[in-house]
Amino acid sequence: MADTVEAKRSGADGDAGKEAERGDELAVGGKILRSRLFLGTGRFPDPLALKEAIAASGAEVLTFSIRRVQLEDLAGDAVLKHVDHDRHVFLPNTSGARTAEEAVRIARLARAAGAGNWVKVEISVADETLLPDPAETLRATELLAKEGFAVFAYCSDDPVLCRRLAEAGAAAVMPGGSPIGSGLGILNPYNLALIAEQVRVPVIVDAGIGAPSDAALAMELGASAVLVNTAVARARDPAAMAAAFRRAVEAGRLARLAGRIPKRKYATASSGHEELISPPYRVGGVPL
């Protein structure tokens, strides 16, 4: 059903949006992407829900984890059956790593398993918040960039750290809006805007996105892309939510390119004051 809704709406959107987006591709990690929405594949209720959400999201980049094969249950995780290898780019993460060395080990395995040279460095020792370890993340980024990996560094929303990661060779930085899976959105829009302004590599907001409005805000603040997982996977209707995120990311990107107005303290009339049919009044009804 979601596919039908999707098809109708993309037709109804007309060509104006498509025109505006033409030539607005994202170059990252040696690839050119048309979609600025990355989708995580975890926590979906079932493989079919994931498949429908992937289609509705329009995402080209999908994230995965690397785990031991369950030797006694080879049918285990059938997630890859629903992924079109030609149409999607694999972004394996190093979740579970607690040190730079562990992240390097997982990255090498992911590459050997056929994921290409992309890797999302994800190193955490903070079990309650899953916040990334900045020192180990920076070290892993250096090590993996030297080995020829396109490193997508999941990190805290610290502008200085993001610059250091870019200098260390990261293909993209992935500052979190808030802790993974929390749905708290962009807790520090000021930092995120600074990162987007100051870091030379693409900024992909990862983690904590709860609703499409969060994704739109991230894009309006200057992010190059957004990675969403739990907000789609745990929605009541994942495919419909994926479609909503697709539009939100597009809207936020268009708004960024269009240039939002500055915030002002007082009103500015959007209807002109000239030639009013009645003169302006002071409070209390006394003519000026």
Partner: protein, 65 residues
């Protein structure tokens, strides 16, 4: 021959990495193999010997963010 695969010690008569994978019907799956801490690329599976006491990790992609 006694080897450890994904944390479990087992008796297995498999002389090469390729033979271990064949035993578990994983040859055609999208998996990666680490032998004693070093990744063995698919093209080298058939030529890489597995000795008694070897420690193997066989991993795959699973869903995740």
């Amino acid at each position: 021959m006694r080897i450890r695969v994904n944390g479990n010690w087992m008796e297995l008569d498999a002389e090469t990495v390729a033979a271990v994978l064949e035993h578990f019907s994983l040859t055609d799956k999208k998996v990666a193999v680490e032998l004693d801490g070093v990744v063995v690329d698919r093209k080298n599976w058939a030529d890489t010997a597995v000795r008694d006491g070897a420690v193997l990790e066989i991993v795959q992609f699973v869903s995740g963010g």
